[in-house]
Amino acid sequence: MPQPLDILVETPSQTAGPYVHIGCIPSFAGIDGIYPQDLAESPIADGAKGEIITISGSIYDGTGWAMRDAMFESWQADAAGRYPGMDGADPKVSGFCRFAADKDSGEYTLRTVKPGAVQTRQGQWMAPHISIWIVARGINVGLSTRIYFAEDDHSADPLLSRIEHRPRVDTLIAVKDDQGIYRQDFHLQGDLETVFLDL
């Protein structure tokens, strides 16, 4: 027998269930008074540098129904491409936001600053993007994806370049509507199935 490896194993995931709001955004669930406010209601404070943008959309299940009970988290760099904690990062950008699908319409809205491009340790530049994590009843392992922006040059982005089926790249790219709001929908199944990530 070889020596045993002393690497532990990650704790298995379980679904966040239908009541995830109680634990993560209790005020949204109507539970007030335990915390002063829900965690991470906005990823930016007043005075954040850069272009303030709004992204809106829905997450659709395999029947095309907009899910009313999903919860999202976003993580992003500041306008200069620096993550919080990095040297020179914008102190007005926490970079982290929690938000939920509307219980009646299923629509979410994220108001934030547009992130800058971020360099990988190999020196490649990732086009501006926001990382998204999605949990809900029926999702057994939280789903990771990204939002990129239509106006940017994605030709050298190391993640988008790895998508073999080129039409699927569009599932990660938000497009501005005529109101100036980025639209980004997530599809769990079907012809428009979003590219989900394992990074």
Binding site: I22, P26, V118, Q189
Partner: protein, 242 residues
């Protein structure tokens, strides 16, 4: 600046199957196409960090936090404690741990929960804490009740507490559930059974911990959590293709 080494790949085989017909909701909520797998980038290797000033003094005591100490929740008093580590066995300090659960009768304080069991006016059902320097955390709460749920005609959830853990990197983000040693409903739950490796299910079952219980006060349960680790090597900072 904290450690930003690459994350170890997630071992998908220890996690639940995303698609499991016995858990009906997963049928339409599981991606059909493969995930796109890549080495982690700074986006996944960094993450939100929280400080102790976020946490109120009653936040980790679900027996009293809903009433802010004016009344006690009904139920069997328990202490849930453990340690958050990474796959290298290193403690994960100062990380946010959030929990939520049903009350002692098996009812959630949520508009979507219509079970017969009554709400407890003294119980909200959520709590949070930051781990100490050695990765340890603890909560006081009441044992949640089991409850029926709409899946197959007679499915019941075992007693459980939902856990949300951050780690120090967005790629370590994890939500799971803790079950209680000896609960006969664990083996009958289609959500538990989405995990196909039985030895992994056992890792979600907290043992009764009499040595950390307190006579005439509470029983203790021990629940340790492992998050993804980071590779430990000096051979990372090389140019593409080299």
């Amino acid at each position: 600046m904290t450690d930003t080494a690459p994350l170890m790949p997630r071992r998908r085989e220890v996690h639940p199957d995303p698609y499991d017909p016995a858990y009906k909701t997963s049928v339409t909520r599981s991606p059909k196409l493969p995930l796109l797998a890549l080495e982690s980038t700074p986006t996944e290797e960094t993450g939100p960090l929280f400080t102790h000033d976020l946490i109120g003094p009653l936040d980790n005591n679900l027996i009293v936090n809903f009433t802010q100490g004016k009344g006690l929740a009904v139920g069997e008093r328990i202490r849930v404690h453990g340690k958050v580590m990474d796959e290298q066995g290193r403690p994960v300090p100062n990380t946010l741990v959030e929990i939520w659960q049903a009350n002692a009768g098996g009812r959630y304080r949520h508009i979507k929960d219509t079970y017969f069991a009554p709400l407890d006016p003294n119980f909200g059902g959520c709590g949070r804490t930051l781990t100490d320097e050695d990765g340890s955390y603890e909560f006081m709460t009441v044992r949640p009740g089991a409850y029926p749920w709409p899946n197959r005609a007679n499915d019941w959830r075992p007693m459980h507490i939902h856990f949300s853990i951050f780690g120090h990197a967005f790629g370590q983000r994890l939500i799971s559930q803790m079950y209680f040693e000896g609960d006969p409903l664990i083996a009958r739950c289609p959500i538990v059974e989405t995990i196909k490796d039985r030895s992994q299910i056992e890792r979600l079952v907290a043992p009764l911990d009499m040595q950390n219980s307190r006579g005439m006060d509470y029983l203790a349960y021990r629940f340790d959590i492992v998050l993804r680790g980071r590779r430990q090597t000096r051979f990372e900072n090389k140019l593409e293709g080299m």
